[in-house]
């Protein structure tokens, strides 16, 4: 080891010389690239920290959805008939024609059967049973869209008894009347059917309607025999009995 090995002035001179060399710098464009990469890496690693562009896109999407929702609400509120008139349209377009189609069949079928509730099919004559089946078939064909399962539909399509068929027919006709036409009363075309209807009203405790129907019946069919239960009801009511 020589004396120069530990000479601090020589080392100082080397340091000074080396420092004087230290002038090189990376270009600014390279600085920008590296720092941009560093920022990008952080943004990509944190999904929650959205970039300005993402914030704008999300805000725009939310605004669009909001405007759309508000527009739909306003549109619906300004046109209530879109919702409210749909049931009546359904009745007008489907139920009423179907009801009209089956009423004559029901009337003609029940005309030969004595009045009573829940008529047992086994007690019907062959000809009557055939007519009942025909009505069933017509009813199913007339109301194809009323039920997803037409074979089990409980409306007028199932003629299991006249007490079921008549009120449903009435209901349909009432719906038709609600649309503006004078409500038809098909049961009045036949005295048996009329009495059957009155029986139904009595069973349902619709006494006002029953009074009206019986009064009308007595006016039109003065001599027609009235079932015992209706006669009893007439006696207990204040309506004057024409046919004792």
């Amino acid at each position: 080891m020589t004396e120069h090995d530990t000479d601090p002035s020589v080392e100082q001179k080397i340091d000074q010389l080396y420092r004087s060399l230290s002038t090189e710098q990376p270009p600014a464009s390279l600085d920008r690239q590296i720092m941009a990469a560093a920022h990008r890496a952080v943004d990509e690693a944190e999904p929650g920290k959205a970039s300005v562009r993402n914030i704008w896109l999300h805000s725009l999407a939310y605004a669009a959805v909001l405007v759309l929702a508000v527009s739909v609400i306003i549109e619906v509120s300004l046109q209530p008939e879109l919702i409210q008139t749909e049931p009546s349209r359904l009745i007008e377009e489907r139920v009423a024609p179907a009801a009209k189609a089956i009423v004559p069949e029901v009337e003609s079928t029940v005309s030969g059967i004595s009045p009573g509730r829940n008529v047992d099919r086994e007690n019907l004559s062959r000809q009557q049973m055939k007519r009942v089946n025909k009505v069933e078939t017509r009813a199913r064909q007339a109301l194809p869209a009323m039920s997803p399962e037409p074979a089990q539909a409980p409306l007028a399509t199932e003629v299991q008894g006249y007490d079921m068929a008549v009120p449903n027919t009435e209901l349909m006709m009432q719906e038709e009347g609600r649309m503006g036409a004078e409500p038809a009363k098909p049961w009045r075309s036949d005295p048996e059917l009329w009495l059957l209807h009155c029986q139904q009203l009595l069973m349902e405790n619709r006494f006002d309607a029953l009074t009206t129907e019986l009064a009308a019946f007595q006016r039109q069919h003065e001599q027609y025999p009235m079932p015992q239960n209706l006669s009893d009801w007439l006696q207990s009511s204040s309506l004057p009995q024409v046919n004792p």
């Binding site: 120069h4 010389l17 990376p26 390279l30 600085d31 590296i34 560093a38």
Partner: protein
């Protein structure tokens, strides 16, 4: 630092007083501005370290420089706060250079002498320029291991222990390499006019 103009002014104040390790931790946690400060502190030293060690010209030098910083960015989650940041940075650099030389089958021989046109410089300035050129030549003429140790000490201001950790040798080996490197430089400096 000249890089301050590249950084947002609102972030420069408090972060500038943070240690390298605190800045790196902040960057790990997603504070990208901490990286800007960290980068501004070490960019020039690392750049010069690469120049002296590889002797590359601007294009390939910039590529190397960028690759090293990108490695640091991508490996930020692996940084342990107990480690000194400069050690971490120069270890990445050292490993990257070894991979770089291996991939290109480059033997890091002493670099070629630079040729500088000094004919139009004043005499005093000319003398200083000649000494600088001579020192550059001496550094580049050092064996690769001595040059690495010398540059890590001079440019990165690392301790013997840190250099030993980066280069994967023990402290005494580093000390020996530095002693030989300084001896060569001293002799050359003393011989010069």
């Amino acid at each position: 630092m000249k890089l301050l103009h590249l950084m947002p002014a609102r972030k420069a104040g408090p972060l500038q007083s943070w240690s390298d390790e605190a800045l790196m931790q902040a960057y790990q946690k997603g504070q990208a501005e901490a990286f800007d400060v960290l980068y501004s502190r070490h960019r020039a030293r690392l750049y010069r370290y690469l120049i002296r060690l590889t002797g590359h010209q601007e294009e390939s030098l910039n590529e190397l420089f960028q690759d090293i910083w990108l490695k640091l960015i991508n490996a930020r989650d692996r940084y342990q706060p107990s480690a000194k940041f400069t050690t971490y940075l120069y270890r990445i650099t050292y490993n990257h250079l070894i991979d770089y030389w291996r991939s290109r089958k480059i033997v890091n021989e002493p670099l070629a002498d630079e040729v500088s046109d000094t004919s139009e410089l004043p005499e005093q300035h000319l003398q200083q320029q000649q000494q600088q050129l001579q020192l550059k030549q001496l550094i580049t003429a050092l064996p690769e291991q001595q040059r690495t140790a010398f540059l890590l000490q001079q440019e990165a201001a690392l301790s013997l222990e840190q250099i030993a950790e980066i280069t994967g040798v023990n402290r005494e080996t580093v000390k020996s390499r530095l002693r030989y490197a300084m001896k060569r430089l001293r002799e050359a400096v003393l011989e010069s006019p």
